[in-house]
Symmetry: C2
């Protein structure tokens, strides 16, 4: 299997970290986002929204979404389980993946794409131009602060985001927090001890370097 | 199992329609959103973001997200499958659920919550107040038009959203389109014949009335 990848982007890091946890080997092909290689016709045919990662199976079939790639990996290599085992565990992973995505990751995207000069006219991941909305960058900062609080409260009562075990929800949350720090220079505030301890614990896994 | 529900909201309709396809019986408890019953302390303890639906299991455990409820239903009653059977089918359902959510449903939410007077200071689903951003309502309209195009192109080559079979992705897409028409008065433009035919086909299912 081949992964179209860009080392600095958060979404392909999701696919790499999940694959590393599973012991799944991937051929890597780098698409240089900084050089706008995602807008070439060849790549557009693979990924209509011009985003990485894309997983290409050996028969040429492509899956162009990081969480859909996770689902594929979980099904073809169930061990170790990263998306829950019982029906309730699976539902809790789904719930927390959605909360991380909608309350955390999308808030960082709002801050970055509506605030950074290099995303001028690319405020939405699309082949079409979208103007930035500065007020949305500000809203994103407030939403991100609430997301840190939500995670902190959750991690005071739970060892990991979706429950007692490490799951894909931890990967999504860690990469969202690392992305916020690197791309928009917003880190969780001091004092959220349970969040800090969880982040150190998850960051220490070998897969976090993938 | 009990479903905290509001008949006019799109997210609880997702849970009802999915349950109807599976033949899962639910006790219904209505939370009157129009009367702001979702902000009572009793309901906040169940649903921290003050949203319906919430599924309450017989042991009192709650699942407060419509897609997490789908995952639970799919696991406890696998037949008929609504989230794919093979690894690739499951990945394609995931991919299309994400596209419908991020490109379609969230665009309608942006239009509604940033444009309608009744959502003044409630532009984000949260217990905290968020001011409306009128430019985001306008962006939502453009994104929604692109989403209709995306669905139309997909349905020219595929009988259903995620592939040849009816799945949860069709439920998500149908309810998103119905929501756009009812809540922000935006319907797919004339001429997208494959989209229109698919919508009529899916709307004719008994579950669409649930």
């Amino acid at each position: 299997m081949k992964l179209y990848d860009f080392p600095l982007s958060p979404s392909p890091r999701r696919a790499r970290m999940f694959a590393a946890e599973k012991g799944i080997a991937l051929d890597i092909e780098t698409v240089n986002i900084r050089e706008k290689e995602q807008f070439t016709d060849a790549f557009l045919a693979i990924s209509p929204n011009c985003t990485v990662p894309v997983l290409e199976l050996d028969d040429g079939t492509t899956i162009c979404d990081s969480l859909a790639i996770w689902r594929y990996f979980e099904e073809v290599k169930p061990e170790p389980p990263l998306m829950g085992t019982t029906p309730l565990e699976k539902a809790m992973v789904e719930l927390w993946l959605r909360r991380v995505e909608l309350e955390g990751y999308q808030a960082v995207v709002d801050v970055l794409r509506n605030g950074a000069e290099r995303f001028r006219d690319r405020a939405v991941p699309s082949a079409e131009a979208f103007a930035q909305i500065p007020a949305l960058a500000e809203r994103g900062k407030r939403r991100l602060a609430l997301f840190f609080e939500t995670l902190y409260e959750r991690l005071q009562e739970s060892a990991f985001v979706a429950g007692p075990d490490f799951t894909a929800a931890d990967i999504h949350a860690l990469i969202t927090i690392d992305f916020a720090e690197r791309a928009v220079e917003i880190a969780p505030p001091d004092g959220l001890a349970a969040l800090k301890a969880w982040r150190e614990r998850v960051s220490a896994r070998d897969s976090a370097k993938a």
